[in-house]
Symmetry: C2
Subunit: 190 residues, 2 copies
């Protein structure tokens, strides 16, 4: 029983393997199972015990990450308050996800590993907020919702890179991120 009886021990090593997989695959998508096992401090055999095939591990990792993204989206309570503030909140929640978010971002193929649809519920929720912003008159009406969502991801990515390449603090990067996103999508003061 894999999911039926998650005894403490079993669940713990499962997490250790998933964490190690994320860490190792982030640096090198083609890394071997032996690498992941080493990082997890676990025998290679144990990995196969939890995930019969490599693809099973990838699928589990994908589902894990996408679940985290969905959870972060929910925490942002997108349907509450002004659209602009909702986008601020979701940016911060996403940013807190850290490494996992960028692994998902840089490997869109992840949706092929899992049984997820290519357009997630999060995507739709974001689009709805932007449309609310259009209705409020706070978001530039000349920018399509899909484009604004794309920008949100792009700016978040820039912020993440900024922390890595310019050793900027998370807080500094987030401040720049929010300031820039706001300016770029705000309705022109007409």
């Amino acid at each position: 029983m894999d999911t039926a009886a998650p005894t403490g021990a079993r669940a713990r090593t499962r997490r250790a393997i998933l964490d190690a997989a994320l860490s190792v695959l982030s640096k090198n998508v083609g890394a071997s199972l032996a690498d992941i096992a080493a990082e997890a401090g676990v025998g290679r055999t144990t990995i196969h015990r939890h995930f019969p095939e490599r693809s099973d591990l990838l699928a589990a990792l994908g589902t894990h990450l996408l679940d985290q993204i969905e959870a972060a989206t929910q925490r942002a309570r997108l349907e509450e308050g002004p659209a602009m503030e909702a986008l601020d909140r979701v940016c911060q929640e996403y940013f807190e996800l850290g490494e996992g978010l960028w692994f998902a971002f840089e490997n869109p193929q992840i949706t092929e590993w899992t049984d997820w649809e290519s357009e997630t519920e999060s995507d739709r929720a974001l689009a709805r907020v932007v449309e609310r912003g259009h209705a409020e008159g706070t978001i530039d009406p000349e920018l399509p919702a899909a484009w604004v969502v794309q920008m949100l991801w792009a700016v978040l990515y820039a912020a993440w890179q900024h922390t890595r390449e310019n050793s900027a603090s998370r807080h500094t990067a987030m401040t720049l991120c929010l300031r820039t996103l706001r300016k770029s999508i705000a309705a022109t003061g007409a």
Copy 2:
């Protein structure tokens, strides 16, 4: 003689291999040489004749792409005219590079394949333009040059993705890209 006597034929297949490598590796970084050979309409043996080892092919591809980026940067004549317009020009030049640009963008390891420094001449030229914009008072002084450069890449990336996922025309995407970049980095009308 590899580079000494580039007879027409040899140079042509070399290009075909590099083009195929870009196309195939863009979809799957771990693709095999056989895949690349097939895409190029060439025998696998021929690839090894031009590039003894896989790493040689990657290095050649990396150099090829980075050369194209440098050339595009020069065409933009960054040192001429107002900073904002210079950034507009460079955005358009980069965007025209298409697939190759994103391969380089998504595989920063590319600099490890080649003998390039991690910070290219293009990077420095872009930073100088931004600082000129700061001096002119046209670029938001609260945004560090490194951040503005990061934004430029991020917005370009968003535009590229926009054409692929939302089947937007290159022109539409470019318009959104330039409009958004301008707004995001412009000095606040103080």
